[in-house]
């Protein structure tokens, strides 16, 4: 008997959801594993067959990583040199400052590109192509410069390099938003007596604030999780969270999965919170065309 239209539709729905659920399972498993491991006592980190649900769940990993309290677990790992809270502070300062600078200067540059064509199409592409150079290539000259300038192992050094390396993204993203702002709105402000800077800060930037927020988050994610440059530039004084995270897999410490997972959760959560706070802007920022004509 032939299927009715309704039956066919129902089967299609089941298949669709089945495939997507399966994929979601594959995609989210590592995240689940990270969260689950962070609550496991150390004898369950490597156990076979794997332990899917920590039993009993423990906060020992979190206490050890974030508060530095001593552990009375079966195996002992002393990781005294690490200071995740300080790294968290470093990461926060470095990522937000560099992202802020990048979006601020990026949007002003983008304004120039959009309105005064200070960069041709070709130059704009070259700007983006700078990002196609693998960072590892420039690491050696960069560390020479930095050591000469005394910027090694400093927050300023990292802020500067993050600011510069993310600037092309900021210019590209904010330019697309500025292009959407009708010229006449600016000219209306101009003829009413506003200076160019005033027009930019009072009219143009507020109009594209959703786009600026979206750009900010995008770049924040990049700077927050950057590893390679931080590894080279920082030594002992300034470490960021990704560097901190890597220390839990080492020749001296061994593989401290539980604590690494506890730290990883702590690195992920702030970004998720930021994302949630600004989600209203994100939806609008990424959908463009937010300026009503």
């Amino acid at each position: 008997m032939a299927m009715t239209k309704t039956q066919r539709r129902r089967i299609a729905t089941v298949v669709r959801y089945g495939v997507l659920s399966l994929w979601a399972l594959v995609a989210f498993f590592p995240i689940y594993w990270m969260v689950s491991t962070s609550f496991k006592p150390d004898n369950q980190w490597f156990s076979w067959p794997p332990v899917y649900f920590p039993s009993p769940p423990t906060l020992a990993n979190y206490r050890n990583v974030w508060l530095g309290t001593e552990q009375y677990d079966v195996t002992q790992y002393a990781i005294s040199s690490q200071k995740p809270l300080i790294s968290m502070w470093n990461s926060t300062v470095i990522a937000t400052t560099s992202t802020f600078l990048s979006v601020l200067f990026g949007s002003i540059l983008a304004y120039g590109v959009s309105r005064y064509r200070i960069l041709s199409e070709a130059r704009m592409f070259q700007l983006l192509m700078l990002r196609m150079i693998p960072p590892i290539v420039v690491v050696a000259p960069l560390s020479l410069y930095y050591s000469a300038l005394g910027l090694l192992d400093s927050r300023t050094g990292l802020i500067l390099i993050y600011f510069l390396t993310t600037l092309p993204y900021a210019v590209w993203m904010t330019k697309s938003f500025i292009d959407e702002v009708p010229r006449e709105i600016e000219q209306a402000a101009e003829i009413l007596g506003a200076s160019r800077w005033r027009t930019v800060f009072e009219i143009v930037l507020p109009l594209i604030r959703s786009g600026l927020v979206a750009t900010f988050l995008f770049i924040l994610i990049l700077t927050w999780s950057e590893y390679l440059l931080a590894l080279i530039i920082t030594k002992t004084q300034v470490t960021t969270l990704p560097i901190e995270l890597s220390k839990y897999q080492g020749t001296t410490e061994g593989r401290v999965y539980g604590r690494q997972a506890a730290l990883a959760v702590g690195i992920t959560v702030p970004l998720m919170i930021v994302g949630l706070i600004i989600r209203k802007h994100l939806a609008r920022g990424f959908s463009f065309g937010m300026v009503r004509r």
Binding site: P182, Q187, A188, E190, I191, L192, R198, L207, R292, R293
Partner: protein, 361 residues
């Protein structure tokens, strides 16, 4: 007070000459309308006056001072844009007081001035709304108020009504007229709508392909067009323009078209023979009921409009030949029926092959 002079004003965008050698003096308090089809250079001319475009050649003077190098904000002008260009993230009140804030006026004086202006254009009830909550007509009033508030010497209006529907357009047209009367400022108004130009202007500047074609009062433009283009552009329904030729045979010149031939008045006796266009406005075509008349044409379509009736005839030309008959007397005429028509001889225009009016003796 503002007298605005454009002297040899030209603007090119690359190879495209948008405005070519425009010379125009606009008197203080005058309402001048720049009119023409799209791409004729009228908006570019206005934007040069505003200071948003730099002239390629020529001078702009305001009260005798050359302002080519003066920033838009220092020219003492106000501008209303086609898109209204309200600041979408500011309330109506913030929009209106923006210009005053830029001038550094204190808050209480600002509030007073905003109140005055909003009463003048009747939008006091909108002050706390956002622009997107306003209708098209309301937005346009807000845009007017925002311009009015700074008390500019000259108002530049760039097709301010083109985004509105017909009824609102008429309403705001009257508003513009009233404001001009009340403020006694110079108005430069750009439009492609000949009706707007006719009703608003003290003087009309007709432009085409970057050049000024004719300058004159609405009546001059309407009844004394310098060429085919102006004759065709103004008037609704537009002037009947019939291609044909002038035949100089014997004493009186005649005009011969595909569908008919008529004798021209004696004032055309010096007109050169050859290809030409005959023009007569629909309201100057009369119906001859007693068998007289100049020509006989078959009716193609009857449009009763109430106050009068439009009759479309087949004159052997691409465009129908139109006559206006008062009232509904002719509404019952059968399509296809031949009617005899009188052409008012005082209102006949003849245009030469180059489009220019043929001089009358």
């Amino acid at each position: 007070m503002a007298r605005i002079e454009l002297m040899g004003l030209s603007k090119s965008f690359g190879a495209l000459a948008a405005v070519k050698n425009v010379n125009l003096a606009i008197e203080d308090g005058e309402f001048v309308v720049l009119v023409g089809p799209s791409g004729c250079g009228k908006t570019t001319t206005l934007r040069m006056v505003a200071g948003f475009e730099d002239p390629t050649a020529g001078e702009i003077r305001i009260d005798g001072c050359v302002v080519n190098d003066v920033e838009p904000r220092d020219r003492g002008l106000g501008m209303v844009f086609q898109t209204h260009a309200l600041f979408p993230h500011k309330t109506v009140r913030q929009n209106i007081e923006f210009g005053l804030r830029m001038k550094g006026m204190p808050a209480d004086a600002r509030a007073k001035r905003v109140r005055e202006v909003t009463e003048m254009v009747r939008i006091a009830h909108l002050l706390d709304k956002m622009p997107h909550q306003c209708s098209g007509g309301e937005s346009q009033r807000v845009a007017l108020a925002r311009t009015l508030v700074t008390n500019p010497s000259t108002f530049l209006l760039d097709e301010p009504l083109s985004s509105l529907d017909a009824k609102l357009r008429r309403e705001l047209r009257a508003e513009c007229d009233r404001l001009h009367e009340a403020l006694k400022r110079t108005f430069i108004y750009v439009t492609h709508d000949q009706e707007e130009a006719m009703t608003l202007a003290d003087r009309i500047v007709v432009m085409r392909s970057g050049e000024v074609v004719q300058i004159g009062s609405p009546m001059q433009i309407y009844s004394d067009p310098v060429n085919y283009f102006v004759a065709d552009f103004f008037g609704s329904p537009s002037m009947n323009l019939i291609g044909g030729e002038i035949v100089q045979a014997g004493a009186a010149p005649r005009f011969r078209a595909a569908g008919f031939a008529i004798g021209l008045p004696a004032r055309f006796k010096a007109a050169p023979a050859g290809a030409a266009t005959l023009g007569i406005r629909p309201e100057h075509v009369g119906l001859a009921r007693d068998g007289g008349g100049d020509v006989e044409l078959p009716v193609r379509l009857v449009e009763p409009l109430g106050r009068d009736t439009l009759l479309y005839f087949d004159a052997g030309t691409e465009r129908p030949f139109v006559a206006v008959s008062e009232g509904l007397d002719m509404a019952g005429v059968k399509v296809g029926a031949p009617l005899r028509l009188n052409f008012d001889p005082r209102r006949l225009y003849v245009f030469g092959a180059d489009g220019n009016r043929i001089n009358e003796a």
